[in-house]
Amino acid sequence: MNFSRKELVKTDATMNQMRNSIHILASFMEKNGVSDLKERLRKMGQNIAKTYIRYWKPTDSVNSSNLKDVITTIYQKILNSSPSIELNDAENLVKVRDHNCALCKYHYDDIEIAGCEIILGMVSEIISLINKESNGITSLIFEPHEVPESRAYGNKTCIQVYKYRIGGRG
């Protein structure tokens, strides 16, 4: 009897080789004419989220009061990261600073793309799917915004920025 995906949620695996694989994949995609690389990586993250949420989710509903906790839980449980999170209410942005990003570590000269675009896609999709299921009127619309800094770009940390709107069924 093989593993089930539910069982995998309870264990860890080492990302070192996969992290390198992401860079090699991105480079392969670029060489073969994929122009919307960033969107493709985010799409990968969204697909991961769609499957992942069937086996684990941090909560049943996300709103402005538990947003930071939900993000922290997702990062800790899935990525084994402990990022710092800042909410910018004026611009409706959430800035996540991860010193130990699971998908970026080394600076590559040949391609300007951060592996954590995948994380951006995954986290926003998890939150969107939770709220879609909960259907609450105070829920958030959560979207990927940008990765302004990344260890893959030569920065010391990765910063993933999300955009949110409070809008219920939106």
Binding site: M1, N2, F3, S4, R5, E7, L8, V9, T11, D12, A13, T14, M15, N16, Q17, M18, R19, N20, S21, I22, I24, L25, S27, F28, M29, K31, N32, V34, R40, M44, N47, I48, K50, T51, Y52, R54, Y55, W56, Q76, K77, I78, L79, N80, S82, S84, N100, A102, K105, I118
Partner: protein
Amino acid sequence: MGAFQWLMKKITKVFGRSTNALFYTLLYREILKEINEITKKEEDSLIILREIGKRAAYESCERHSNIFKFMPGSPKKVLDYFEILWVVVFGRELDDYSYEEIPKEGSKYNDYIVKISKCPLCADYGQDNEDTFNFNKLKDKKTEGLACGLCGMLESVANFILKIKRNDYRIQIVEQACIAKGGDCLQFICKIHDYKSWEKLMDSRSKERNALKVNFGEYLEEEDIVQETKLDIIDKLQDVISIDKLEEYLDEPLESIKERVSDIIRDKLNMEPDHFFDYFRNYEDDMIKIIGYLGTHLLNEYGGLLEKSLKNEWFSKVFGYIFRQLKEMTLLFIPLDVIRDYNELLVSFLDGLAPPEMVDNVKQFTGRDTINYLFEGAQMALENLGIEFSELKENVWEELKKERENGLISSETTPIDKTRERVPQIISIIQEILMIFNDILTLPIRVLISESHYGLKTAINSVVSEEEGLYGSIRERFDKIFDQIEEIRK
């Protein structure tokens, strides 16, 4: 599983960057899907995924090449240590596997078939809407399956080890059965090639890749590259300190270990053991210091971890204080009888290897002398590696006071909270280390008692069995320590 094999697995696992295993599996799936978006042909996608795996693992191996110097250098042994390869690549234990040897006439090495009953990559594959890579579209049923990327990684790591050990043989690892493809287990075939047949294989792989209608850039031909790096201390010693050799040494009685050491000195240094030790006659204290010195440098050979850590001023200071404290406390807390036992063990080891005069001189040392010399050697090595012992304060509290006044310790609550969260783990680690210390205190007398008849391992396991004896107890404690370290690293 041998002690060193176990330790190697633990170290590799603890120092990797881990995530949740389901995230790993799904990311792997997405990579394959993205490749397939480009190739539009399932067979080609699997070839590309294997190449990506190979290249990714090679990149990682190059960054941490020192770890692999401890691995055995013969292809057969590399396969014996398949579990370690798996942990290096995947970072998780290999659950329930078996392998059989397939005789291959006219060849130095046989083929091996490895069967793994549980494959994390294939877990529940096909049950979610996003599992869109369709294995039914494969026309050639001999094509590899979902684990081909993993296969590329394993092959790359195995061949990196052989390359770094300057071995001319190479290993080909091919996925033969895949659960996602309908197989009942994950099955690899491992074939060992000499240089010529490996060249042929590389040629055919190259043709296969050139036939693909995609651009992969330059393919990795790492196996052809002759290593021309400068030899470091581990390179020089790797023939005698690889994990398979260390396992063998542990199985030998003390007399056999002495014989082996003699052979190594004859073989590597071209001199008789008593001539070698004669160089240290009347400098026996220096010899013991060298043991402490080399021991510390050997520790640092694991990826230069110690040296890198000590570059951080704060860590260097903390380590310096702990070392100094340990030096003082060792003599306070370890009974002198126990230290004497260690001294006797050293004398027994040198007896017959070194000139009698030298053995007599070592006998004159008290246990306290030996410990002090070892610590002096280790301190010299730590100074080389970056600890400024002369700059340390009288005690750690004065250091903290000074740093607070200078405002160098952050007053932000977050890091403090994080540290506070880690306190239970740190306490557990200290507790386990103390218990190991206690266990080890009883070791020399066991070795001395069993030295003439049994191996060191027998002495270590002398209580009941490997699991329940001293070895089992120490291993269990290390398991707990590694678990706590993993927790702290999360």
